[in-house]
Amino acid sequence: MAEMTDEEKKAQRAKDLANESKSAKAQLKQCDRQVAMVFDLNKCLGCQTCVIACKTQWTRDEGMEYMWWATVNTQPGRGTPRDWQQMGGGFRGEEPRAGQLPSKRDFGEAWDFNYEEVFYGGKGNAAHLKPSGDPDWGPNWDEDQGGGKYPNSFYFYLQRICNHCTNPACLEACPRNAIYKRKEDGIVLISQEKCKGYRFCMEACPYKKIYFNHVTQTSQKCIFCYPRIEKGVANACARQCPGRLRFVGYLDDENGPIFKLVKKWKVALPLHPDRGTQPNVYYVPPISPPRIDEQGNLDLTKPRIPTEYLKFLFGDDVEPALEILKTEMAKTKAGGKSEILDTLIVYEWKTLFGPFTTDPSTIAPRKA
């Protein structure tokens, strides 16, 4: 057999290393079950209670000021971080796709307010509460601007957390194998021990849901409230949502609403499925009001929200999903019953949370 040249040896070694890395990644991605969420976009009021619930629970420390692991943004809109949908990342086929690093300004810096002056400085009647400096962006800057032209203007709210993807781009990108899926529930975590703050994960995440903590010099993100999940308590964002639109459960629980909405009835879809990460957060797409024509009459033939826009967000499956929802609505309008709509209405709040209905006030607080 001919001896390998140095070049061939190098190429062979690179291949071996790639295979080693590949099998390490495959292990980190493995999980026995997968927790998931479904958000019903038709029910969100944009009240931001979920956002604040998350903020107060998880991102109050120094270095986390600008972090909002849960966000709600008006669509169409630039989102959080600003223009994240144009920042690349994810996969093209099997191949990872380059992405950009958003800056803190893109996320929207944490603003300081003149609380002291207004509330305690004796100027309550003269000074207005306002952020210091002259901010030109924030995590919910373009609220309620939306799209379309009067009288056909429209908007809806899009709730976002880390998607705890089945094929996480962040996990694939990390050169230290610091990112892994928990075996028992598929929650994606960044080991704060292993992370060195290199931020390839931030670049690679097509949803831009990873943040850099400049105090710990590590990357951090939504942890799907795993300490609550472990105790049978639903996520803070879901539990506090007054709109009953955030379903939590296991994707394979055939009796649970998540399985039914996603797998059985196919009315809940992942955001930007084309990014190739297989998200485990799903959305019931928004049902449009009808258009209004030039004479001011209802034009029932066209939806107010352009279907192309919904396809951009949720892929081609959004059309059949909306058809199913419309059929079900027609059914109930005619006096019939719809299991799908009953599930989405959520008559009993506990049906939102699968096995995670434990009252958080019954859990003993962790010792500090």
């Binding site: 190429a11 290393l17 050169p175 230290r176 060195k196």
Partner: protein, 220 residues
């Protein structure tokens, strides 16, 4: 590569601008991009061009010891100083490192050690506190682990487009037998170097390195 004996005190030598360094012979090393094919991340491979990696192409290395401590002075050209404080998500500090195998045996310099031949890397970053340097051990690509306590000190200064960084460490560090290379007078050790240009987003394995091991002899 020679590590010559001098009689200066550690605090003097730790200053990159110290007069003592002017008379120490320097070796100019050609630096190159780390091979993209070896990066332990398919994302890094897909998103980078090897030609654009490794901004530092030439590194000047000087080395001395004073009988108890060893010193490396690294200097290289860098148009921008990045950054004393890393406060934004897209900021990366400049940095440099010294690499030495802990055990005897062959390990390619571009693989950051192996299970059998761990390597010891001394790290300095522009955003570290004054005199701070970190001790890390690696057993393969992407496996560096910081030691809880670092026996290394380092001081860096950027002036007129040039970084100069001095590392200092006791020759032997018995507390870190597993985590650090033990040096002795008259003994040779393999050594390699790396530089990160933070302004170009270089971090982790995306850096320039000195391509092959050099043999460093500590003058007896």
């Amino acid at each position: 590569m020679q590590c010559t004996k001098v009689s200066a005190a550690a605090d003097q030598l730790l200053d990159p601008a110290a007069a003592q360094w002017a008379s120490v012979p320097a070796e100019e090393l050609t630096m190159a991009a780390t091979p993209l094919a070896n990066q332990p991340s398919e994302y890094i491979k897909a998103s980078r061009d090897e030609k654009a990696i490794g901004k530092c192409r030439s590194l000047k290395v000087q080395s001395v010891h004073n009988g108890t401590e060893v010193f490396f002075r690294l200097s290289w050209g860098d148009e921008s100083e990045n950054d004393k404080e890393v406060t934004d998500t897209n900021m990366f500090p400049d940095g440099c490192g010294v690499l030495m195998p802990i055990a005897s045996g062959d390990t390619p310099i571009e693989e950051m050690g192996s299970k059998d031949v761990p390597v010891n890397a001394w790290f300095w970053r522009a955003n570290y506190k004054p005199d701070e340097a970190r001790n890390t051990t690696a057993r393969g690509l992407g496996s560096t682990v910081f030691s809880k306590k670092s026996p290394i000190r380092a001081r860096g200064a950027w002036q007129q487009g040039t970084w100069s960084v001095v590392f200092a460490r006791a020759l032997s560090v018995p507390d870190l037998a597993e985590e650090a290379v033990q040096l002795a007078l008259g003994k040779a050790v393999k050594v390699g170097f790396a530089v990160w240009d933070g302004g170009s987003g270089e971090r982790a394995g995306v850096k320039s390195f000195s391509k092959e091991w050099r043999e460093l002899t500590l003058e007896a």
